[in-house]
């Protein structure tokens, strides 16, 4: 029922998203620019919020997400290294670089979380933010050296206005990760109960952790490459859904996915209307709306 309502809302938002904007609507415009943009928005919204859920299960911490675990910075660093060393190689290699860096950074972050004795709810994401800060500053150092600071900054600010047919297709790579997550929903719930609990239930904990890492890395790198970093999405959407409907992923994962897509579409529509005929980058709208919701969440938790 809830899923049905959300699906309808998503459809309405998608249609609005297709027709909001400046130019006169023509079939060519719709197929070259509008459809790719809407599809990219939906996939990014679903992908980022689902990645957030998986990371929260793997670390057993509600405040861990691509934004607070250095994941986005790692993807950015992968792109940067690619740009410095083999700028002319194809998009597939670019994707591979971003993916590898994201994967390795997530492994390191998980290893750090494992080592932390004092597993305070706020302490873990703080460590993640510092970790991201370190990665970010190394990237910036090299970017300054190579005079490409502007490029790298552009990646960090998610923006869907540049999305055109032929330049966004990599985002479809997040689709398999999303499907795997859905099929493994129950197993990720068990992982979220902790290692001992998982073993008691006969779950191969390590294997599921690796699958989770793979899915997160694939999704995040695909999204960062096509649209840039979208902050907070993986944090807010899962938390709101969890507050309202609990943590049984089998039940809530579709809700997370749909809400993520709707939230991102709405932010994009708002960004396109506020200073019409210009456009606010979606990273800004998501950050502002997201930060407010996040603050409310933290204060309510107290």
């Amino acid at each position: 029922m809830r899923t049905l309502i959300l699906t309808l809302v998503l459809l309405v938002c998608a249609v609005v998203s297709l027709f909001v904007g400046v130019a006169d609507i023509s079939m060519a415009l719709i197929s070259i620019s509008r459809i790719p943009r809407t599809v990219a928005l939906i996939l990014a919204g679903v992908g980022m919020s689902i990645s957030g859920v998986i990371m929260q299960q793997m670390t057993q911490n509600k405040f861990v997400a691509p934004t607070t675990a250095g994941t986005l910075e790692a993807a950015k660093m992968g792109l940067l290294i690619f740009l410095i060393f083999i700028p002319t190689a194809g998009a597939a290699l670019k994707m591979l670089f971003a993916f590898l860096f994201t994967f390795i950074a997530s492994l390191i972050f998980l290893a750090i979380v494992r080592k932390i004795r004092y597993r305070n709810v706020v302490f873990v994401p703080l460590v993640g933010l510092m970790f991201g800060g370190i990665i970010g500053s190394i990237s910036t150092f090299f970017a300054v050296r190579m005079n490409i600071v502007q490029d790298t900054n552009a990646w960090m600010m998610g923006d869907f206005s540049g999305i055109l047919q032929g330049r966004y297709e990599l985002i479809y790579l997040s689709l398999p990760a999303i499907i795997i997550t859905y099929l493994y929903a129950n197993k990720f719930t068990v992982v979220g109960m902790g290692e001992d609990f998982s073993r008691n239930l006969g779950l191969n904990y390590r294997a599921i952790m690796n699958i989770g890492l793979f899915c997160v890395s694939l999704t995040v790198s695909a999204v960062v490459i096509t649209a840039g970093a979208i902050p907070f999405l993986g944090l807010i959407v899962p938390n709101v859904v969890s507050l309202l409907f609990g943590d049984n992923l089998k039940k809530t994962l579709p809700l997370v996915a749909l809400s993520g897509a709707i939230f991102l579409l709405l932010c994009d529509i708002v960004g396109r209307i506020v200073i019409y005929p210009y456009e606010v980058p979606i990273g800004v709208t998501v950050s502002i709306i997201g930060a407010i919701i996040f603050l409310i969440l933290i204060i309510r938790k107290r």
Binding site: K62, N186, M193, D196
Partner: protein, 252 residues
């Protein structure tokens, strides 16, 4: 049957378990007692393959635990640890349903649902089965976790200090439930206990550990003895008989 052969474990240079040999009788409650650091919880974790030993083997039904597939072992043996604090927002019924995970990973069958309902009924959780576990009291939470283990329906049930943080009423309730599991459902129960009187009153056998070694291993009646207990705990304990049950007094 669970057999433990020559188990040893050390953390760094500190020896926690040293050549432990044990057999746990089927369909009975065996309590592990001993001072802090005697190695009780470590032994329980090793038996339940949550922790790897440095030497020795654990056999379940004549087969080394390391030779079992995860899923198969999870259908034979379950463990509930004191640190099993699930932070997820799940309802009681959802939590109990995860006890069936080793049998049918994703889709619960009718048989699974039946066992879940039976476990909920057994622990008297019908009234709160749709409540979220993070909203329950300590005693209710403990019952919910035990229901999950009951739904897992394993021959061997291991519990690490299940009475921690429970008041007297809920402690007694928990022990009575375990007693029924052993007597009516023929489960083999191994339990780490701190309160000697609970061990005395509810268990069939007692294993006393001291400095990583099995000091005594006998029927409850033989262990609850002033000399033995003084040897195990290094304090004076007086044992008196009350309503044909032995009661230990260590406030001396």
């Amino acid at each position: 049957m669970i057999e433990v052969k020559d188990i040893s474990k050390h953390y760094g240079r500190k020896v926690v378990l040293d050549g432990v040999d044990l057999q746990f009788p089927i369909g009975k409650i065996t309590s592990l007692i001993g001072s802090n650091g005697a190695g009780k919880s470590t032994l329980l974790s090793i038996v339940s393959r949550l922790l790897a030993q440095d030497g020795g083997v654990v056999m379940v039904d004549g087969k080394n635990v390391t030779d079992y597939k995860n899923k198969v072992l999870a259908q034979r043996l379950s463990i509930l640890k004191q640190s099993n604090h699930v932070r997820l927002k799940l309802t009681v019924r959802e939590l109990v349903s995860f006890g069936r995970f080793p049998y049918s990973q994703d889709k619960l069958t009718d048989e699974d649902n039946e066992k879940v309902d039976r476990a909920i009924h057994f622990l008297d959780l019908e009234d709160i089965k749709d409540a979220y576990i993070d909203e329950l009291s300590g005693g209710q939470k403990q019952r919910a976790y035990m229901a999950m283990v009951v739904a897992q329906d394993t021959d061997y049930v291991l519990l690490d200090e299940p009475l921690n943080n429970l008041d007297m009423k809920h402690s007694v309730q928990t022990m009575k439930t375990l007693r029924r599991l052993a007597d009516e459902w023929k489960k083999t129960i191994i339990i780490v206990l701190h309160d000697i009187n609970f061990a005395s009153h509810y268990s069939d056998y007692i294993v006393a550990l001291k400095d990583g070694k099995v000091k005594y291993c006998d029927t409850t009646d033989n262990i609850i003895n002033e000399k033995v207990l003084e040897d195990v705990f290094d304090i004076k304990i007086s044992v008196t008989e009350f309503n044909s049950k032995k009661v230990c007094n260590y406030f001396m």
